[in-house]
């Protein structure tokens, strides 16, 4: 696996604020890497440093093996899609897409051909002569994508590309971006705060907090095994409790099962390795499921509040104040490293 880009000990400070703190990261060639985290975690700053819009206060950035830390953006050969799309309002769609090719002195005929080819790739060839303002948000987004791809960049950088789209379109565009990546073979770096987006789209995901990497790896490796509480919380592991030895366990609401009535004190733990007795504090109706809040005591004797996602008939017999028994599905309990 060769690297398309590398961060080596990169830091970015704005005054007293450290946006990115000693970041070392390898972006694998031909894969889609997401930088994921809450706002202020340094993901966009990292992307901007990679694109050359912001110079790191320390460290080295390499693109295709070459030290690019001090290279201005126009000489990095990267394609960037901005959250606001940043289309040129005074140019047609075709001229927007052809802008980078014109700068590269691609001859007129060849340029026209490549512009149309790229617009076809994003399904917008019929709008080539329009001005961006006449286009819908989703179409503008595709133009921005086409403009970045047309120059055949070394890397395609996407800064929260889907966050300005409505929910339905957003889900469609996830698959669309993956399709385009597969067809072009581009290395993609995508910044997002949406874990579902990252899980669905990434080959590799990098979870960040306060300018540091919290965990990285393919979604299928990261999701079932969060490395720490932050990652677990960010990925939707709502419940944290301690086992008999005081080690931290976490479990997702949909992996807890709730049954009416208290189990015997000496009843064995279920296949999930968990058996807690408690009372229902609250039941929230959510249409397809119920979110049941249970106050219980974990094996160290500490009070824990558990969120349990209950579907269909399993909710029978549950009511606020009622005694319940909570157990976990097999393999659902995750122990966090100390």
């Amino acid at each position: 696996m060769t690297s398309a880009a590398e961060f080596v000990g990169v830091s970015q400070k704005f005054g007293d604020f450290t946006a990115v703190d000693d970041l070392s990261l390898t972006i694998a060639e031909g894969r889609l890497t997401t930088l994921l985290g809450p706002s202020g975690c340094g993901k966009t700053t990292s992307l901007r440093m990679l694109a050359g819009y912001s110079r790191p206060t320390a460290g080295t950035i390499r693109i295709a093996g070459r030290d690019c830390t001090r290279v201005p953006p126009e000489r990095r050969d990267l394609g960037m899609v901005f959250q606001s799309y940043a289309l040129f309002p005074h140019m047609t769609v075709a001229d927007n897409v052809g802008y980078g090719l014109k700068l590269r002195r691609v001859a007129k005929e060849e340029r026209r051909r490549r512009v149309m080819e790229t617009l076809e790739l994003v399904g917008l060839a019929h709008l080539a002569g329009n001005r961006p303002k006449k286009l819908s948000g989703g179409q503008q987004q595709r133009v921005a994508l086409a403009r970045a791809i047309a120059i055949r960049p070394k890397l395609l950088l996407l800064d929260e590309p889907l966050s300005n789209l409505d929910a339905r379109l957003r889900v469609q565009m996830r698959a669309e971006i993956r399709r385009i990546q597969a067809e072009t073979g581009l290395t993609v770096v995508l910044v997002t705060h949406d874990q579902d987006e990252a899980l669905e789209m990434s080959d590799d995901m990098v979870l960040m907090r306060a300018g540091r990497v919290m965990q990285q790896g393919p979604p299928r490796e990261v999701f079932p095994a969060p490395a720490n509480r932050f990652v677990a919380e960010f990925l939707g592991y709502e419940n944290f409790l301690a086992d008999a030895e005081g080690r931290t366990l976490t479990v997702r609401p949909e992996n807890l099962r709730v049954a009416a009535g208290a189990a015997d004190a000496d009843a064995p733990a279920g296949p999930g390795g968990l058996l807690l007795r408690g009372t229902v504090a609250h039941i929230a109706y959510r249409g397809a499921d119920l979110l049941v809040t249970v106050d219980a005591t974990d094996d160290t004797g500490a009070a824990v509040r558990l969120l349990c996602d209950v579907r269909g008939g399993a909710a029978e017999g549950l009511s606020p104040g009622g005694e319940v028994t909570v157990d976990a599905r097999e393999g659902a309990l995750v122990r966090l490293p100390d």
């Binding site: 050359g52 201005p72 126009e74 901005f82 799309y85 940043a86 309002p89 005074h90 802008y99």
Partner: protein, 265 residues
């Protein structure tokens, strides 16, 4: 007009009446055949237009005014546009202060500016009237240039220039192919506003005039003080016509919404 809001509609009508009716009186009076400035006009003729166009002091002053307005506008844009770009796109410390400095001529009374320039430039440095007036008008027009061109930049997506850089454009190329086109309607409207404001200015021109160099409004003011014939109304009507032509041209080429909104979207 929106008939569902009668009060607003009535106020709007009242506003138009107050603004337009006096102008209408001047225009109608200009076509009189009589020899005094009064309404209703006595008979109908274009004799006062002929008189005005043949009146040497008006023609000389018109040329002076146009010359002055063109010079001041060009200078104001030359200074104001880079300042606007620096304020909205640059990384300069104390942006607020810089902007305040360049907008301040708006709040200083023009008579004070005029007097100061008269003392310093004409008496102190012995500059001629055109130079002093050009400097004075330029100072007055800079706020328009900074504000109006700045507005078109403030409304544009700040990432478009970065996008251009990322696609391979040098900073200079980015300015020429992206920033400047975004600024174009702003520059056009600033030029229009500056030109008209300079052309109509009286206080500065009054203080900085000389026998050799006098602007049209000042000359007309002088004329009204000496004589009460309708020639001044005819001249005013001609200026009005010129302004209307300019406005129509602006609407046809760029459009008012773009010019005064300063938006290029």
């Amino acid at each position: 007009m929106n008939t569902r809001r009668p009060v607003a509609a009535a106020l709007a009508v009242a506003g138009y009446v107050v603004m337009l009716v006096p102008i209408l009186f001047v225009v109608v009076t200009a076509f009189t055949a009589g020899s005094t400035l009064r309404f209703p006009p006595e008979g109908l003729s274009t004799r006062w237009f002929e008189e005005a166009l043949g009146y040497e002091p008006f023609l000389t002053a018109l040329v002076s005014s146009l010359q002055l307005a063109a010079l001041a506008t060009a200078l104001a844009l030359l200074i104001g546009v880079p300042v606007a770009v620096a304020i909205h796109r640059g990384r300069i410390p104390g942006k607020g202060l810089v902007e305040g400095l360049f907008l301040s001529p708006l709040i200083v009374p023009e008579l004070v500016v005029g007097l100061a320039l008269y003392q310093q430039l004409m008496i102190g440095f012995g500059l001629d009237s055109l130079t002093a007036l050009t400097l004075g008008h330029t100072a007055l027009m800079i706020p328009y240039a900074v504000r109006v061109t700045g507005a078109s930049l403030a409304l544009a997506d700040p990432h478009v220039e970065e996008a251009a850089r990322g696609l391979g454009a040098s900073p200079l190329r980015t300015f020429a192919t992206v920033t400047l086109p975004l600024l174009r309607p702003g520059i056009f409207s600033a030029a229009l506003l500056s030109f008209v404001t300079s052309f109509n200015n009286v206080p500065l021109s009054l203080l900085l005039q000389t026998r050799e160099f006098r602007t049209l409004p000042v000359t007309m003011l002088d004329y009204v003080q000496q004589s009460y014939d309708p020639m001044v109304a005819a001249m005013a009507t001609l200026i009005l016509a010129g302004t209307v032509v300019l406005a129509v041209l602006a609407e046809r080429t760029v459009g008012f919404a773009k010019i005064f909104g300063g938006i290029n979207r």
